[in-house]
C-alpha cells in the first residue's frame, strides 16, 4: 500500500466513523424528543408511554374553559366525545381557540391525571382539521354518541346565562 493510499483509507475510515457516530447520536436524540400523538380515550385507558412528551388532540369541550381571574392560568377539557381530559395551561391561547373546535396540546400528564400543557395549537380555519384531532375522534368512534357529554356542557352553559 502506498502512503497516499493509506492516508486516503484513513480519511475514509474517519469519515465512516464520524457519520456512524452522528447517526447513533441522532437516533438517541430522536427518541428523546418525539411526542406521541394521543387522544383522551387512550389516556383514560392508560394506553400511552409514560413520562413522555405527549401531543393530545381533540375538541375543546363546550363550556369547559375557565380562567384564573388574576393570572393567565387557564383550564379546559379536551374531549373526543367519550372521555374528557382536563388541560392546564399558563399562557396565551392561539387565535382560533374556541369551544367545540379542534385543538392540540403539547405537554405531559401529571400524577392527578391532569394534562400540563406548555403549548396549545388550534386549527387555522373552518375547513381544516388537525389529523390528531381527527384520529382521536375516529378512535373514540366505537362507543357512544358524541352528543352526550357535550349536550351536558351546553345545558350548563345555557343555565348560566
Amino acid at each position: 500500500m502506498t502512503p497516499t493510499r493509506k492516508k486516503r483509507l484513513a480519511v475514509i475510515g474517519l469519515m465512516v466513523l464520524g457519520v456512524s457516530t452522528a447517526t447513533a447520536i441522532a437516533l438517541v436524540a430522536l427518541n428523546d424528543n418525539i411526542r406521541f400523538s394521543i387522544g383522551p380515550s387512550e389516556i383514560v385507558a392508560g394506553d400511552f408511554p409514560e413520562g413522555r412528551q405527549l401531543r393530545l388532540g381533540g375538541l375543546v369541550a363546550a363550556g369547559s374553559v375557565s380562567r384564573d381571574p388574576t393570572s393567565l392560568l387557564v383550564t379546559f377539557d379536551v374531549t373526543d366525545c367519550i372521555h374528557d381530559i382536563t388541560v392546564n395551561f399558563n399562557g396565551i391561547l392561539p387565535d382560533l381557540f374556541r369551544e367545540g373546535q379542534g385543538v392540540i396540546a403539547h405537554g405531559t400528564l401529571d400524577a392527578n391525571g391532569m394534562f400540563q400543557a406548555h403549548e396549545v395549537l388550534a386549527r387555522h380555519d373552518e375547513t381544516y382539521m388537525p389529523p390528531e384531532v381527527a384520529r382521536a375522534m375516529a378512535l373514540a368512534g366505537g362507543n357512544e354518541v358524541c352528543g352526550e357529554p357535550i349536550e351536558d356542557h351546553i345545558a350548563s352553559v345555557e343555565a348560566g346565562y
Binding site: L59, A62, D80, C81, E99, G100, G102, D125, E126, T127, Y128, M129, P131, A134, R135, M137, A138, A140, G141, G142, V145, C146, G147, I150, E151, I154
Partner: protein, 179 residues
Amino acid sequence: MIRMLIPLLVFVGLIGLLLISLPTAEQRRQVASPLIGREVPNFTLPSLHEPEVSYSTADLRGQPFILNVWGSWCFSCRVEHPYITRLGEEAGIPLVGFNWRDERDDALTWLSRFGDAWTFHMVDEEGRAAIDLGVYGAPETFLIDHRGVIRHKHIGPVDETSFADLMRRIEEMRQEAGA
C-alpha cells in the same frame, strides 16, 4: 459500479416510504365520523326563510333525508352547489340545508343568486347544534335513514364521483325504508 448505485437505492427507499405514506394522508382527510351508525342528535332550529318556524330532526323520523351543511361564507359550498342542486332534484328524499355560522341576509342573497334546491333550511347561527353533529367544517353532507341513523358523511365539496356514491347510498336507504 455497485458503490455508485448506493444513492439510487437510498432514493428508491425514500420514494417507497413516501408512497406508503400517501394513503395515510388521504385517510386523515376523510376520517370516519364517530357518529356513523348512531342516531342523529335531536335538535330544534329556526327555519332560514321563516324565522318564527322551527324544525327538529325528530320531525323527519320515518323517512330518509340528506343534511347538507353550508354557509354563504364558504367557497367550497359554492363549488358543490350544482351537485347539491342535482341531489335536490334527483334524490327523491328531503334535502335539508344546515346553514352554519352565517348571517341570515347573506344566506338568503346567496340562495337567490345561485338557486335553492333544498327542501328547507335550518339555521345554526351559534354553531351549537353543529357541535352535536360533529361538524368539522363546511361543506359536509350527511345521509340519515328512516330510523334516524346517520349512515354516511361526506366531508368537503361534493363532486362527480362523490355525487354518484351518494346517489347509490340514497337508493339503498330508500329501498330499506320501503321494505
